[in-house]
Protein backbone atom coordinates (compact mmCIF):
# COMPACT_ATOMS: atom_id res chain seq x y z
CA UNK A 1 0.00 0.00 0.00
CA UNK A 2 1.17 3.50 -0.74
CA UNK A 3 -0.06 6.71 0.84
CA UNK A 4 -0.69 8.63 -2.33
CA UNK A 5 -2.47 11.71 -1.11
CA UNK A 6 -2.86 13.36 2.23
CA UNK A 7 -6.30 14.51 3.15
CA UNK A 8 -6.73 18.23 3.64
CA UNK A 9 -6.80 18.02 7.45
CA UNK A 10 -3.22 16.79 7.50
CA UNK A 11 -2.06 20.20 6.31
CA UNK A 12 -2.36 21.34 9.92
CA UNK A 13 1.13 19.93 10.55
CA UNK A 14 2.52 22.74 8.42
CA UNK A 15 5.23 24.99 9.77
CA UNK A 16 4.49 28.70 9.53
CA UNK A 17 8.08 29.68 8.84
CA UNK A 18 7.22 33.11 7.46
CA UNK A 19 4.90 34.11 10.31
CA UNK A 20 2.30 35.36 7.89
CA UNK A 21 4.68 37.43 5.74
CA UNK A 22 4.43 37.35 1.97
CA UNK A 23 6.61 34.58 0.49
CA UNK A 24 9.07 34.87 -2.37
CA UNK A 25 8.98 31.57 -4.25
CA UNK A 26 11.89 30.65 -6.49
CA UNK A 27 11.50 28.45 -9.57
CA UNK A 28 14.13 26.75 -11.72
CA UNK A 29 12.24 26.12 -14.97
CA UNK A 30 9.62 27.94 -17.06
CA UNK A 31 6.79 25.45 -16.43
CA UNK A 32 7.23 25.85 -12.68
CA UNK A 33 6.82 29.61 -13.04
CA UNK A 34 3.43 29.09 -14.71
CA UNK A 35 2.40 26.38 -12.23
CA UNK A 36 3.28 28.48 -9.18
CA UNK A 37 1.79 31.67 -10.66
CA UNK A 38 -1.53 29.92 -11.21
CA UNK A 39 -1.44 28.35 -7.73
CA UNK A 40 -0.57 31.45 -5.69
CA UNK A 41 -2.23 34.18 -7.79
CA UNK A 42 -1.36 37.46 -6.08
CA UNK A 43 -0.74 35.89 -2.65
CA UNK A 44 3.04 35.52 -3.10
CA UNK A 45 5.92 36.70 -5.28
CA UNK A 46 7.70 34.46 -7.80
CA UNK A 47 11.30 34.78 -8.86
CA UNK A 48 13.00 32.63 -11.54
CA UNK A 49 16.41 31.38 -10.43
CA UNK A 50 17.90 32.10 -13.87
CA UNK A 51 16.98 34.63 -16.54
CA UNK A 52 14.84 33.84 -19.57
CA UNK A 53 16.61 32.67 -22.71
CA UNK A 54 19.12 30.24 -21.24
CA UNK A 55 19.23 26.53 -22.02
CA UNK A 56 18.44 24.73 -18.75
CA UNK A 57 20.18 21.55 -19.92
CA UNK A 58 23.72 22.84 -19.66
CA UNK A 59 23.35 26.07 -17.72
CA UNK A 60 26.43 27.70 -16.21
CA UNK A 61 25.53 29.85 -13.21
CA UNK A 62 26.14 33.61 -13.40
CA UNK A 63 27.11 35.90 -10.50
CA UNK A 64 23.68 37.60 -10.46
CA UNK A 65 22.04 34.19 -9.95
CA UNK A 66 23.80 33.90 -6.60
CA UNK A 67 22.39 37.23 -5.42
CA UNK A 68 18.89 36.33 -6.59
CA UNK A 69 19.00 32.92 -4.90
CA UNK A 70 19.51 34.52 -1.49
CA UNK A 71 16.18 36.39 -1.73
CA UNK A 72 14.06 33.26 -2.01
CA UNK A 73 12.09 31.73 0.86
CA UNK A 74 11.39 28.44 -0.86
CA UNK A 75 12.34 27.09 -4.29
CA UNK A 76 10.38 24.75 -6.58
CA UNK A 77 12.72 22.34 -8.38
CA UNK A 78 12.43 19.48 -10.84
CA UNK A 79 14.97 17.57 -8.74
CA UNK A 80 15.29 14.49 -10.93
CA UNK A 81 18.06 15.59 -13.25
CA UNK A 82 16.83 18.63 -15.15
CA UNK A 83 18.05 21.41 -12.90
CA UNK A 84 21.14 20.13 -11.14
CA UNK A 85 22.74 23.56 -11.67
CA UNK A 86 20.24 24.97 -9.18
CA UNK A 87 21.93 23.08 -6.37
CA UNK A 88 25.30 24.53 -7.41
CA UNK A 89 23.84 28.05 -7.33
CA UNK A 90 22.34 27.50 -3.89
CA UNK A 91 25.58 26.12 -2.46
CA UNK A 92 27.71 28.86 -4.03
CA UNK A 93 25.38 31.64 -2.84
CA UNK A 94 25.35 30.44 0.75
CA UNK A 95 21.63 29.69 0.47
CA UNK A 96 22.08 25.93 0.62
CA UNK A 97 19.59 25.63 3.48
CA UNK A 98 16.72 27.25 1.52
CA UNK A 99 13.71 24.90 1.68
CA UNK A 100 13.06 23.09 -1.60
CA UNK A 101 9.82 21.78 -3.04
CA UNK A 102 10.54 18.75 -5.19
CA UNK A 103 7.77 18.92 -7.78
CA UNK A 104 8.28 15.32 -8.89
CA UNK A 105 8.22 13.62 -5.51
CA UNK A 106 4.87 11.94 -6.17
CA UNK A 107 5.10 11.65 -9.97
CA UNK A 108 5.28 8.12 -11.38
CA UNK A 109 8.25 8.21 -13.75
CA UNK A 110 8.90 6.43 -17.04
CA UNK A 111 12.17 5.76 -18.87
CA UNK A 112 13.36 7.62 -21.96
CA UNK A 113 11.97 5.79 -25.02
CA UNK A 114 14.38 3.05 -26.06
CA UNK A 115 16.60 3.41 -22.98
CA UNK A 116 15.24 1.76 -19.85
CA UNK A 117 18.29 2.85 -17.87
CA UNK A 118 17.58 6.58 -18.26
CA UNK A 119 14.78 8.19 -16.25
CA UNK A 120 12.81 10.74 -18.26
CA UNK A 121 13.08 13.99 -16.28
CA UNK A 122 10.74 15.94 -18.61
CA UNK A 123 7.63 15.35 -16.56
CA UNK A 124 6.43 18.90 -17.28
CA UNK A 125 5.81 18.15 -20.99
CA UNK A 126 2.51 16.33 -20.43
CA UNK A 127 -0.75 17.45 -18.87
CA UNK A 128 -1.04 14.28 -16.74
CA UNK A 129 2.36 14.55 -15.06
CA UNK A 130 2.13 18.36 -14.96
CA UNK A 131 -1.12 18.06 -13.01
CA UNK A 132 0.48 15.68 -10.50
CA UNK A 133 3.23 18.29 -9.97
CA UNK A 134 0.68 21.08 -9.58
CA UNK A 135 -1.07 19.14 -6.81
CA UNK A 136 2.29 18.41 -5.18
CA UNK A 137 3.46 22.04 -5.35
CA UNK A 138 0.12 23.37 -4.04
CA UNK A 139 0.23 20.93 -1.10
CA UNK A 140 3.81 21.81 -0.22
CA UNK A 141 3.31 25.57 -0.56
CA UNK A 142 0.38 25.18 1.82
CA UNK A 143 2.71 23.59 4.35
CA UNK A 144 5.04 26.59 4.22
CA UNK A 145 2.24 29.16 4.11
CA UNK A 146 -0.69 27.67 6.05
CA UNK A 147 -2.69 30.92 6.02
CA UNK A 148 -3.08 30.55 2.27
CA UNK A 149 -3.12 26.75 2.06
CA UNK A 150 -6.84 26.60 1.20
CA UNK A 151 -6.41 29.15 -1.58
CA UNK A 152 -3.39 27.32 -3.01
CA UNK A 153 -5.26 24.01 -3.02
CA UNK A 154 -8.32 25.60 -4.65
CA UNK A 155 -6.29 27.44 -7.29
CA UNK A 156 -4.15 24.40 -8.02
CA UNK A 157 -7.24 22.31 -8.55
CA UNK A 158 -8.76 24.92 -10.88
CA UNK A 159 -5.52 25.09 -12.89
CA UNK A 160 -5.38 21.29 -13.10
CA UNK A 161 -8.95 21.31 -14.41
CA UNK A 162 -8.06 23.85 -17.10
CA UNK A 163 -5.16 21.65 -18.27
CA UNK A 164 -7.40 18.58 -18.34
CA UNK A 165 -9.90 20.57 -20.41
CA UNK A 166 -7.09 21.59 -22.79
CA UNK A 167 -6.07 17.97 -23.29
CA UNK A 168 -9.69 16.90 -23.74
CA UNK A 169 -10.20 19.59 -26.39
CA UNK A 170 -7.46 18.02 -28.51
CA UNK A 171 -8.06 14.37 -27.73
CA UNK A 172 -11.67 14.74 -28.87
CA UNK A 173 -10.35 16.06 -32.20
CA UNK A 174 -8.08 13.01 -32.44
CA UNK A 175 -10.99 10.63 -31.88
CA UNK A 176 -11.93 10.54 -35.54
CA UNK A 177 -8.36 9.95 -36.73
CA UNK A 178 -6.81 6.57 -37.43
CA UNK A 179 -3.45 6.43 -35.61
CA UNK A 180 -2.49 2.92 -36.73
CA UNK A 181 -0.04 4.30 -39.29
CA UNK A 182 1.63 6.75 -36.89
CA UNK A 183 5.34 5.95 -36.45
CA UNK A 184 7.23 8.78 -34.82
CA UNK A 185 10.77 9.64 -33.86
CA UNK A 186 11.81 12.64 -31.79
CA UNK A 187 15.06 14.56 -31.79
CA UNK A 188 15.10 14.76 -28.01
CA UNK A 189 14.13 12.18 -25.40
CA UNK A 190 11.77 14.60 -23.67
CA UNK A 191 8.42 13.75 -25.19
CA UNK A 192 7.60 10.26 -23.94
CA UNK A 193 5.10 11.49 -21.35
CA UNK A 194 3.29 13.65 -23.92
CA UNK A 195 2.81 10.88 -26.47
CA UNK A 196 1.95 8.35 -23.79
CA UNK A 197 -0.99 10.44 -22.58
CA UNK A 198 -2.47 10.32 -26.08
CA UNK A 199 -1.99 6.58 -26.35
CA UNK A 200 0.79 7.05 -28.91
CA UNK A 201 4.32 5.74 -28.88
CA UNK A 202 7.77 6.94 -29.87
CA UNK A 203 9.58 4.47 -32.13
CA UNK A 204 13.00 6.07 -31.81
CA UNK A 205 14.82 8.97 -30.20
CA UNK A 206 17.38 10.41 -32.57
CA UNK A 207 19.31 13.03 -30.70
CA UNK A 208 22.49 14.48 -32.14
CA UNK A 209 22.92 17.15 -29.43
CA UNK A 210 20.04 18.77 -27.62
CA UNK A 211 19.65 22.47 -28.27
CA UNK A 212 22.75 22.76 -30.44
CA UNK A 213 22.95 22.67 -34.24
CA UNK A 214 24.55 19.33 -35.22
CA UNK A 215 27.77 19.13 -37.19
CA UNK A 216 27.71 17.86 -40.80
CA UNK A 217 28.85 14.44 -39.61
CA UNK A 218 26.16 14.31 -36.89
CA UNK A 219 23.54 15.38 -39.41
CA UNK A 220 24.59 12.56 -41.78
CA UNK A 221 24.34 10.07 -38.90
CA UNK A 222 20.94 11.48 -37.92
CA UNK A 223 19.60 11.07 -41.45
CA UNK A 224 20.87 7.47 -41.51
CA UNK A 225 19.23 6.76 -38.14
CA UNK A 226 15.89 8.18 -39.32
CA UNK A 227 15.96 5.96 -42.41
CA UNK A 228 16.79 2.92 -40.24
CA UNK A 229 13.97 3.67 -37.76
CA UNK A 230 11.30 3.36 -40.48
CA UNK A 231 9.27 6.29 -39.17
CA UNK A 232 6.98 8.62 -41.06
CA UNK A 233 7.02 11.55 -38.63
CA UNK A 234 9.90 13.32 -36.94
CA UNK A 235 9.48 15.84 -34.14
CA UNK A 236 12.33 18.35 -34.07
CA UNK A 237 12.87 21.01 -31.45
CA UNK A 238 10.83 24.19 -31.86
CA UNK A 239 13.73 26.58 -31.45
CA UNK A 240 16.18 24.56 -33.52
CA UNK A 241 13.98 23.28 -36.34
CA UNK A 242 14.38 25.66 -39.33
CA UNK A 243 16.99 24.69 -41.88
CA UNK A 244 17.77 21.43 -40.11
CA UNK A 245 14.19 20.19 -40.48
CA UNK A 246 14.10 21.10 -44.16
CA UNK A 247 17.32 19.17 -44.83
CA UNK A 248 16.09 16.10 -42.99
CA UNK A 249 12.72 16.20 -44.73
CA UNK A 250 14.39 16.52 -48.15
CA UNK A 251 16.81 13.65 -47.47
CA UNK A 252 14.46 11.16 -45.78
CA UNK A 253 10.96 12.03 -46.93
CA UNK A 254 9.56 11.99 -43.37
CA UNK A 255 7.20 14.75 -42.31
CA UNK A 256 8.95 17.02 -39.83
CA UNK A 257 7.07 18.82 -37.05
CA UNK A 258 8.37 20.49 -33.94
CA UNK A 259 7.73 20.31 -30.22
CA UNK A 260 8.39 22.97 -27.65
CA UNK A 261 10.57 21.98 -24.73
CA UNK A 262 8.76 24.75 -22.76
CA UNK A 263 12.03 26.29 -21.65
CA UNK A 264 12.50 29.31 -23.93
CA UNK A 265 10.69 32.62 -23.64
CA UNK A 266 9.38 35.02 -21.04
CA UNK A 267 8.25 33.81 -17.64
CA UNK A 268 4.47 34.31 -17.58
CA UNK A 269 1.50 32.55 -15.96
CA UNK A 270 0.13 31.73 -19.45
CA UNK A 271 3.42 30.47 -20.92
CA UNK A 272 2.88 26.81 -20.06
CA UNK A 273 -0.61 26.52 -21.56
CA UNK A 274 0.48 28.46 -24.63
CA UNK A 275 3.46 26.16 -25.29
CA UNK A 276 1.41 23.04 -24.59
CA UNK A 277 -1.16 24.25 -27.08
CA UNK A 278 1.68 24.62 -29.62
CA UNK A 279 2.73 21.02 -28.89
CA UNK A 280 -0.81 19.71 -29.21
CA UNK A 281 -1.33 21.55 -32.50
CA UNK A 282 1.89 20.00 -33.76
CA UNK A 283 0.87 16.53 -32.59
CA UNK A 284 -2.55 16.89 -34.18
CA UNK A 285 -1.04 17.94 -37.53
CA UNK A 286 1.36 14.99 -37.40
CA UNK A 287 -1.40 12.49 -36.63
CA UNK A 288 -3.52 13.92 -39.43
CA UNK A 289 -0.62 13.59 -41.89
CA UNK A 290 -0.24 9.87 -41.16
CA UNK A 291 -3.94 8.98 -41.01
CA UNK A 292 -4.93 6.83 -44.01
CA UNK A 293 -7.11 8.81 -46.37
CA UNK A 294 -10.71 7.58 -46.65
Amino acid sequence: MVVLALSFSSLSIAQDFKNGERMTIGVTLHPYYSFVANIVGDLADIEPLIGAGYNPHNYNPLPEDLVRARSMDVIVVNGIGHDEWAFEILQASGAGDTPLIYANNSVSLIPVAGNDEAVNAHTFISTVTAIQQIYEIARELGRYDPDNAQAYARNGRAYATSLRRLKAEYSQQFSDLDTSNFRAATMHGAYGYLLQEFGLQISAVIEPRHGVEPTARQLAQTIEAIRAANVNVLFAEKFFAGQLAETIQAETGVEVYSFSHISEGDYTPEFYESEMRFNLDSLKAAVESTAPSL
Binding site: A5, L6, T123, Y135, G199
Partner: protein, 201 residues
Amino acid sequence: MNISVAITQTVSPANKRWESFLLIAALLLLVMLTGSYAMLFGREDRQQVILDWQLSAYSDLQDTDQAIYNELLVAVNEITFMQQDSLDWPSVDDLRENWLPPFYQDSSWINRGSVNWQFSSGEDRAVYFGNQGQLETQGAYLLILNNEFVGTGEVLVASVWWHPQRMTGLPHSTEDSSLILAGWKEVVPYQGLDERERLSD
Protein backbone atom coordinates in the same frame (compact mmCIF):
# COMPACT_ATOMS: atom_id res chain seq x y z
CA MET B 1 90.29 3.59 -35.69
CA ASN B 2 88.20 4.16 -32.62
CA ILE B 3 87.31 1.26 -30.41
CA SER B 4 84.41 1.67 -28.01
CA VAL B 5 84.26 -0.52 -24.98
CA ALA B 6 80.93 -1.15 -23.22
CA ILE B 7 81.24 -1.02 -19.49
CA THR B 8 78.47 -2.47 -17.34
CA GLN B 9 78.34 -1.62 -13.68
CA THR B 10 75.74 -3.08 -11.33
CA VAL B 11 74.70 -0.85 -8.47
CA SER B 12 73.03 -2.70 -5.61
CA PRO B 13 70.54 -0.91 -3.39
CA ALA B 14 71.76 -0.14 0.08
CA ASN B 15 68.90 -2.16 1.64
CA LYS B 16 68.48 -4.79 -1.09
CA ARG B 17 66.93 -7.26 1.30
CA TRP B 18 63.92 -5.09 2.22
CA GLU B 19 63.11 -3.05 -0.87
CA SER B 20 60.84 -5.57 -2.66
CA PHE B 21 59.11 -6.51 0.58
CA LEU B 22 58.38 -2.89 1.46
CA LEU B 23 57.08 -2.18 -2.04
CA ILE B 24 54.69 -5.16 -1.94
CA ALA B 25 53.57 -4.26 1.58
CA ALA B 26 52.87 -0.67 0.51
CA LEU B 27 50.81 -1.88 -2.45
CA LEU B 28 48.82 -4.29 -0.29
CA LEU B 29 48.16 -1.54 2.25
CA LEU B 30 46.95 0.78 -0.53
CA VAL B 31 44.59 -1.89 -1.90
CA MET B 32 43.23 -2.63 1.56
CA LEU B 33 42.68 1.04 2.36
CA THR B 34 40.87 1.85 -0.92
CA GLY B 35 38.81 -1.34 -0.62
CA SER B 36 37.75 -0.47 2.93
CA TYR B 37 36.89 3.09 1.91
CA ALA B 38 34.78 1.83 -1.00
CA MET B 39 32.95 -0.60 1.28
CA LEU B 40 32.27 2.06 3.89
CA PHE B 41 31.54 5.10 1.73
CA GLY B 42 31.24 3.78 -1.83
CA ARG B 43 28.16 4.47 -3.97
CA GLU B 44 25.77 1.59 -4.25
CA ASP B 45 23.15 1.55 -6.98
CA ARG B 46 19.82 1.70 -5.21
CA GLN B 47 17.38 -0.94 -6.35
CA GLN B 48 13.70 -0.48 -5.73
CA VAL B 49 12.36 -3.39 -3.70
CA ILE B 50 9.53 -5.14 -5.55
CA LEU B 51 7.91 -8.01 -3.66
CA ASP B 52 6.59 -11.21 -5.26
CA TRP B 53 3.02 -9.93 -5.32
CA GLN B 54 3.98 -6.55 -6.77
CA LEU B 55 4.98 -5.09 -10.15
CA SER B 56 7.06 -2.03 -10.96
CA ALA B 57 5.15 0.59 -12.96
CA TYR B 58 8.49 1.77 -14.33
CA SER B 59 9.92 -1.50 -15.62
CA ASP B 60 7.27 -4.23 -15.57
CA LEU B 61 4.26 -2.68 -17.32
CA GLN B 62 3.71 -2.29 -21.05
CA ASP B 63 3.16 1.24 -22.35
CA THR B 64 -0.66 1.07 -22.27
CA ASP B 65 -0.85 -0.32 -18.75
CA GLN B 66 1.81 2.12 -17.61
CA ALA B 67 -0.19 5.06 -18.99
CA ILE B 68 -3.42 3.88 -17.34
CA TYR B 69 -1.59 3.36 -14.05
CA ASN B 70 -0.03 6.83 -14.10
CA GLU B 71 -3.39 8.42 -14.84
CA LEU B 72 -5.06 6.51 -11.99
CA LEU B 73 -2.36 7.80 -9.66
CA VAL B 74 -3.08 11.40 -10.68
CA ALA B 75 -6.86 10.83 -10.51
CA VAL B 76 -6.55 10.00 -6.81
CA ASN B 77 -5.95 13.69 -6.06
CA GLU B 78 -9.13 14.84 -7.79
CA ILE B 79 -11.18 11.97 -6.35
CA THR B 80 -10.05 13.10 -2.90
CA PHE B 81 -11.19 16.67 -3.56
CA MET B 82 -14.51 15.51 -4.97
CA GLN B 83 -15.11 13.27 -1.98
CA GLN B 84 -14.40 16.18 0.37
CA ASP B 85 -16.77 18.43 -1.61
CA SER B 86 -19.75 16.09 -1.54
CA LEU B 87 -18.81 13.77 1.35
CA ASP B 88 -19.35 10.92 -1.06
CA TRP B 89 -17.10 9.06 -3.45
CA PRO B 90 -17.49 10.23 -7.06
CA SER B 91 -19.00 7.81 -9.57
CA VAL B 92 -17.36 6.96 -12.91
CA ASP B 93 -19.79 9.38 -14.60
CA ASP B 94 -18.71 12.14 -12.20
CA LEU B 95 -15.08 11.52 -13.16
CA ARG B 96 -15.90 11.56 -16.87
CA GLU B 97 -17.72 14.86 -16.52
CA ASN B 98 -14.51 16.32 -15.10
CA TRP B 99 -12.41 15.10 -18.08
CA LEU B 100 -10.49 12.82 -15.72
CA PRO B 101 -8.36 10.17 -17.45
CA PRO B 102 -8.38 7.19 -17.71
CA PHE B 103 -12.17 7.38 -17.23
CA TYR B 104 -12.89 10.16 -19.75
CA GLN B 105 -13.80 8.70 -23.14
CA ASP B 106 -11.59 10.32 -25.75
CA SER B 107 -9.01 9.24 -28.31
CA SER B 108 -6.55 8.25 -25.56
CA TRP B 109 -9.20 6.04 -24.01
CA ILE B 110 -9.88 4.45 -27.42
CA ASN B 111 -6.15 3.96 -28.16
CA ARG B 112 -5.78 2.24 -24.79
CA GLY B 113 -8.44 -0.36 -25.49
CA SER B 114 -11.71 1.40 -24.45
CA VAL B 115 -11.56 -0.03 -20.93
CA ASN B 116 -14.93 -0.25 -19.20
CA TRP B 117 -14.87 1.23 -15.67
CA GLN B 118 -17.20 0.25 -12.84
CA PHE B 119 -17.49 1.75 -9.38
CA SER B 120 -18.41 0.27 -6.04
CA SER B 121 -18.07 1.58 -2.51
CA GLY B 122 -18.29 0.34 1.04
CA GLU B 123 -18.19 2.00 4.46
CA ASP B 124 -14.68 3.43 4.18
CA ARG B 125 -13.57 2.16 0.80
CA ALA B 126 -14.06 3.00 -2.88
CA VAL B 127 -13.16 0.68 -5.72
CA TYR B 128 -12.82 1.61 -9.40
CA PHE B 129 -12.61 -1.52 -11.55
CA GLY B 130 -11.39 -1.42 -15.15
CA ASN B 131 -12.10 -4.40 -17.38
CA GLN B 132 -12.96 -5.58 -20.92
CA GLY B 133 -10.17 -3.66 -22.64
CA GLN B 134 -10.10 -4.38 -26.38
CA LEU B 135 -6.34 -4.60 -26.81
CA GLU B 136 -4.66 -7.96 -27.18
CA THR B 137 -3.24 -9.23 -23.86
CA GLN B 138 -5.03 -6.45 -21.96
CA GLY B 139 -6.01 -7.46 -18.42
CA ALA B 140 -7.89 -5.73 -15.63
CA TYR B 141 -7.25 -2.83 -13.25
CA LEU B 142 -8.33 -1.93 -9.74
CA LEU B 143 -8.00 1.39 -7.94
CA ILE B 144 -8.77 1.00 -4.25
CA LEU B 145 -9.08 3.98 -1.92
CA ASN B 146 -9.32 3.83 1.86
CA ASN B 147 -9.67 6.60 4.39
CA GLU B 148 -7.56 5.62 7.36
CA PHE B 149 -6.54 7.35 10.57
CA VAL B 150 -2.79 7.44 11.02
CA GLY B 151 -1.46 9.21 14.10
CA THR B 152 -3.52 12.35 14.60
CA GLY B 153 -4.74 12.81 11.06
CA GLU B 154 -6.78 11.12 8.40
CA VAL B 155 -4.94 9.97 5.31
CA LEU B 156 -6.13 8.57 2.06
CA VAL B 157 -4.40 5.31 1.26
CA ALA B 158 -4.64 4.28 -2.36
CA SER B 159 -3.41 1.24 -4.20
CA VAL B 160 -3.58 0.15 -7.81
CA TRP B 161 -3.74 -3.52 -8.80
CA TRP B 162 -3.30 -5.16 -12.17
CA HIS B 163 -4.39 -8.59 -13.39
CA PRO B 164 -3.01 -10.15 -16.58
CA GLN B 165 -6.39 -11.52 -17.63
CA ARG B 166 -9.85 -10.10 -18.20
CA MET B 167 -12.25 -10.77 -15.33
CA THR B 168 -15.83 -11.94 -15.40
CA GLY B 169 -16.76 -9.28 -12.86
CA LEU B 170 -15.65 -7.28 -9.86
CA PRO B 171 -13.58 -9.33 -7.37
CA HIS B 172 -15.69 -10.62 -4.45
CA SER B 173 -13.17 -9.27 -1.97
CA THR B 174 -10.70 -6.43 -2.39
CA GLU B 175 -8.64 -7.29 0.67
CA ASP B 176 -4.95 -7.65 -0.18
CA SER B 177 -4.73 -11.34 0.65
CA SER B 178 -7.77 -12.22 -1.49
CA LEU B 179 -6.46 -10.23 -4.45
CA ILE B 180 -3.03 -11.84 -4.22
CA LEU B 181 -4.55 -15.33 -4.10
CA ALA B 182 -6.65 -14.46 -7.18
CA GLY B 183 -3.53 -13.52 -9.16
CA TRP B 184 -3.69 -9.74 -8.84
CA LYS B 185 -0.43 -7.77 -8.58
CA GLU B 186 -0.09 -4.48 -6.76
CA VAL B 187 1.61 -1.90 -8.97
CA VAL B 188 4.35 0.15 -7.32
CA PRO B 189 5.46 3.47 -8.83
CA TYR B 190 9.03 4.63 -9.27
CA GLN B 191 8.52 8.21 -8.18
CA GLY B 192 10.57 11.39 -8.17
CA LEU B 193 11.32 10.78 -4.50
CA ASP B 194 12.93 7.43 -5.39
CA GLU B 195 14.97 8.97 -8.20
CA ARG B 196 16.10 11.85 -5.99
CA GLU B 197 17.35 9.42 -3.36
CA ARG B 198 19.22 7.50 -6.04
CA LEU B 199 20.80 10.70 -7.39
CA SER B 200 21.88 11.83 -3.92
CA ASP B 201 23.51 8.50 -3.00
